[in-house]
């Protein structure tokens, strides 16, 4: 049969950000997918080497712009480990609340855009963006900004949670929990939606480990690995966190993992708000000069919404000598070629949606 090369261009309605996929297609089945990346490459690691420690927060947030809070917190905890600063008791709970809210917002964004990619499910995109907007307004109430918060300080947060924050959060969480239930019934009773996701883009257990994928893609293939429990930072285990694991390995399993994670995050935020101790959660103000690193290097791992993020930082006098960032979307995209072999062309976007990629994360 004639093999044609289709170039799904960098600007395409369903490749989020800038990603060119050169797909060699035999009839309707995909032979090979070759992602071309680098359209958003701006050399974050090189820029970080010429900035003071706390000047780099702005860069770190723009790595994964669907969940800026997570990357910023990952960077700040690396610097804390380097300078040997302890995080305050209440600040840990405040960070858990803000991180989990950001995870729900990021998963809602994923749900909306994936439904939009699969078919004309435009209304699903609108509903989820409406819910995500509620959370963004909550985070704005807590930190003062909609997307790029820059509110993490060494050892704590720059501003404690405002007065009426608890009951606002409870209201928003109740409405999101209610709408999540609606989305679940609405989508899973919809046979056309199920056809587009069931056993499409299957990733077996061994391949998932060999290909090194992370996050919901890994847990969707049956591997029970979640940084929040395995390296138990910020008392997640005390808050009763249980990772969501599915054994299906196809796009539907990844969808179910993320829906469960949203449910898990909602209960985490509620419990964290209840058990939050009194006391002060403020971190050190941003002081550029005079930071004396205690250790030579620091490796910190966190569970970002898209997977496991890791930062390896080597200390210099005032600046990071070298900052290596492990971006989850980078390796998930590398696995796209293996997953989508033999699938149909129309399913390529269901797989791409279920991998939940953010291109700024991939290009660094």
């Amino acid at each position: 049969m004639s093999e044609t090369k289709i170039n799904i261009g960098p600007i395409h309605p369903s490749t989020h950000g800038v990603l060119r996929l050169v797909v060699t297609v035999d009839g309707d089945t995909i032979k090979e997918v070759e992602p071309h990346i680098g359209f958003l490459h701006r050399g974050v690691e090189k820029l970080a080497e010429s900035r003071m420690y706390m000047q780099n927060i702005v860069y770190m947030e723009k790595l994964d712009y669907a969940a800026p809070m997570a990357h910023q917190e990952l960077y700040v905890s690396t610097v804390e480990k380097l300078l040997g600063i302890e995080v305050k008791e209440r600040a840990e709970y405040v960070r858990v609340v803000l991180l989990e809210l950001q995870r729900i917002a990021s998963h809602l964004l994923w749900l909306g855009t994936m439904c939009n990619d699969i078919g004309q499910m435009f209304s699903m995109f609108m509903w989820t963006m409406r819910d995500r907007d509620m959370i963004l307004r909550l985070l704005q109430e807590a930190t003062g900004q909609r997307m790029f918060y820059v509110n993490m300080r060494l050892g704590g947060v720059n501003r404690d949670l405002p007065a009426g924050f608890e009951d606002d959060t409870y209201k928003v969480l109740d409405s999101i929990e209610h709408s999540l239930g609606e989305y679940k019934d609405f989508l899973e009773s919809n046979p056309v939606f199920m056809e587009r996701l069931k056993n499409v883009g299957v990733l077996s257990r061994e391949n998932a480990i060999r290909l090194g994928v992370t996050g919901p893609v890994l847990r969707g293939s049956g591997i029970d690995y979640d940084v929040r429990r395995n390296s138990s930072y910020y008392k997640y285990t005390k808050l009763g966190f249980r990772p969501a694991v599915e054994t299906g390995g196809d796009s539907f399993a990844r969808y179910k993992v993320r829906m469960k994670e949203m449910q898990e995050s909602i209960s985490l935020v509620r419990k964290a708000l209840e058990e939050m101790p009194k006391g002060d959660a403020l971190g050190l103000p941003i002081k550029l000069i005079g930071a004396v690193p205690k250790e030579k290097e620091a490796i910190v791992k966190r569970e970002l919404p898209r997977g496991e993020g890791m930062m390896y930082m080597v200390a210099d006098k005032q600046r990071p000598y070298r900052l290596a960032i492990r971006a989850p979307a980078f390796i998930n995209l590398a696995a796209l070629d293996h997953i989508s072999r033999g699938q149909r062309l129309a399913d390529l976007f269901a797989i791409l949606g279920s991998l939940d990629l953010v291109m700024a994360d991939v290009d660094k």
Binding site: I37, K46, G212, I223, I299, Y312, R326
Partner: protein, 123 residues
Amino acid sequence: MPKIEYANLDAEIEKLHSEGFTYLTKITAVDYVDHVEVLYFLRDIEKNKEIVVRSDLAPNYLRLKSIMHLYPAADWYERELSEMFGIDFIGRKTKRLLLEKWDGKGNPLRKSFTWGSKYEVQE
């Protein structure tokens, strides 16, 4: 984890792979002007154990054996390192540049790469 000699780096990785460290998290390199240090972050998913394999490379002889046959995940990491650091990996099939049409010459993450930034660290 003490530093491994450059010679028996591959044997060490094979040994670890057979021991169960089948998950590769990241391969990075750090350019200390007189030598370049390469780090392999390996992990055993079931027993939740981590290991960092390090070794030094002479700055003029930046060659490494590719471990794609053991860890297919290493494919993109090695291509990124070859563009950012100029380390070329032996035994790789695809040679295509990972970062699309990046017209800059040289390897950005080496300390020798300067692009006239105002904040440049003057050694």
